[in-house]
């Protein structure tokens, strides 16, 4: 698949397989699914968290996995530089006290969104641990943040744009 003007770096199958693999890694790392809550960052991480939950539920023989979404707009250090997206409201399955939160996003870039997410999580309880899963780590970190689960490490220039969908990952 060749998107207009862009270079496809992961196919739809690559993305699907990465999600399944990350699901296995999350279960392995946490010795099961006890206390694990998948939290998709609005908006790019929400569908990935959904698919991760389905993958883990399938492989572990569960009906559902606890899942939530997190809107970090009000916690950003550049609040005011990005408009709030309507409909991207936080929904969490109750308090996060004592849980293992896995933050899920599409692309890890500067790390500022994740920093905001850590602050936001803090207002919803005290998890036992917070982990980070991303489909693409494109580098250029501006904060000491690293992912625990990565679909693909993708060297990029700062000027490039990375688009992650279920149809694949496109670099433009």
């Amino acid at each position: 698949m060749q998107a207009e003007g862009g270079r496809t770096v992961m196919s739809a199958d690559d993305v699907r397989r990465a999600i399944i693999r990350i699901g296995h890694e999350i279960v392995e790392r946490n010795h099961g699914t006890q206390g694990v809550v998948l939290v998709g960052l609005q908006r790019g991480g929400v569908w990935i968290a959904q698919q991760l939950a389905e993958a883990i539920a399938r492989s572990e023989g569960l009906d559902t996995m606890p899942i939530g979404t997190l809107d970090v707009s009000f916690y950003r250090d550049d609040v005011g530089l990005r408009p709030i997206v309507p409909g991207s409201v936080t929904t969490l399955p109750g308090t996060l006290d004592g849980t293992h939160v896995v933050l899920v996003d599409d692309v890890l870039f500067t790390g500022r969104t994740v920093r905001a997410a850590l602050d936001a999580i803090n207002d919803h309880g005290r998890p036992r641990s917070v982990q980070l899963a991303v489909i693409v780590d494109r580098g250029h970190r501006e904060l000491p943040i690293r992912p625990d689960y990565v679909g693909k490490n993708l060297p990029t220039s700062r000027a490039e744009n990375v688009a992650v969908t279920a149809d694949g990952v496109v670099l433009t």
């Binding site: 908006r43 790019g44 809107d71 707009s73 009000f74 916690y75 609040v79 005011g80 530089l81 990005r82 408009p83 709030i84 309507p86 409909g87 991207s88 409201v89 936080t90 929904t91 308090t95 599409d106 692309v107 870039f109 500067t110 969104t113 602050d119 207002d123 919803h124 309880g125 494109r138 744009n161 990375v162």
Partner: protein
């Protein structure tokens, strides 16, 4: 958006945007710790030249939940009573370094006037008989949430009952409801209607019993006692018998109909049933939504950067 002075300045899309933003604020308010750092370092001044504990408290709570600093400027204890002009008051507070004025004033147009004397954002919290835009927004949000009208009020029938002539709430609500597509009927005796409603996109009825069975929203206004003094209504009892929500009238409401009131209620006058017995009563939801809507307005004015173009690369 630099100021919020008049609900008529907002089109349906802008109202919809603020109501979408309110969804985020409602979520924050439902948390065990309802506070976010979005307006850290901003200062909001509540400048109330008329008493209004409810509205002032609502704005105060809204600002604090966004982590703004709040200055409450009580006019009774200020140098306004020593003869300082409105302009001097505004310029003095502005010089302290503030980001927003929330203004309640007895004179129509005072908030508009204040915008000339300060660079801060100005929010009209009620001016004379003119406007009360955040009340209109919270009423729209309450209807939208209660009746699931996320995309607009097309075909929705709303009756506003009571003292329309002296009500900035009615004036603001009519503009907001009709902007979103609702059909509004004003229900009042001729003495409590404005001299001319010709320009208003509304219908008028003098009999509540003619409309009560058909409406989706019944909006009751506060009946103020000074209207008796001015002989606009013969007696409170007569007002209640013709325009009050009595148990007989409540029984004629459709099951889905919601009942709203801007508060404070005159129990036994415009609402002559126990609101606890009224399944469709939204009075407390209006209060709760008032905080969320005011958070949305303050955030939009001070923190949203809505004047900036969206980042074409999206958040990464």
């Amino acid at each position: 958006m630099k100021h919020l002075l008049d609900i008529g300045d907002l089109d349906a899309a802008s109202i919809g945007h603020l109501l979408d933003l309110t969804d985020h604020m409602v979520e924050i308010n439902q948390r065990p710790m309802p506070k976010v750092p979005a307006l850290r370092g901003k200062t909001v001044v509540n400048l109330f030249f008329e008493d209004s504990t409810r509205t002032r408290t609502s704005f105060d709570t809204a600002a604090r939940r966004l982590s703004a600093d709040v200055m409450n400027f009580a006019v009774s204890s200020s140098s306004v009573n020593k003869g300082e002009s409105l302009r001097d008051t505004i310029e003095t507070i502005t010089a302290m370094g503030v980001d927003a004025f929330v203004v309640r004033h007895g004179s129509s147009g005072a908030p508009q006037q204040i915008t000339r004397w300060t660079n801060a954002a100005v929010v009209n919290a009620g001016d004379g008989w003119h406007q009360h835009p955040t009340q209109a927004l919270l009423d729209c949000y309450t209807i939208r949430a209660a009746l699931g009208r996320t995309t607009g009020f097309d075909g929705l029938r709303i009756a506003i009952v009571g003292d329309i002539a002296h009500s900035r709430v009615a004036r603001s609500d009519v503009q907001a409801f009709t902007a979103l597509g609702a059909q509004v009927t004003l229900v009042a005796p001729p003495t409590l209607l404005p001299p001319s409603v010709d320009g208003w996109p509304v219908e008028v009825s003098h009999r509540l019993d003619d409309v009560i069975g058909d409406v989706d929203v019944l909006y009751l206004l506060r009946m103020q006692r000074e209207r008796m003094r001015d002989a606009l209504v013969p007696s409170l009892r007569e007002y209640t018998s013709l325009y009050g929500l009595t148990p007989q009238r409540a029984a004629r409401l459709q099951p889905h109909t919601i009942v709203m009131h801007p508060g404070p209620m005159n129990r036994g006058v415009e609402i002559a049933v126990d609101p606890a017995d009224l399944a469709g009563s939204m009075v407390l939801q209006q209060v709760a939504n008032g905080v969320a809507v005011r958070m949305a307005v303050l955030f939009e004015l001070l923190g949203s950067g809505s004047d900036l173009a969206p980042d074409p690369k999206g958040p990464q």
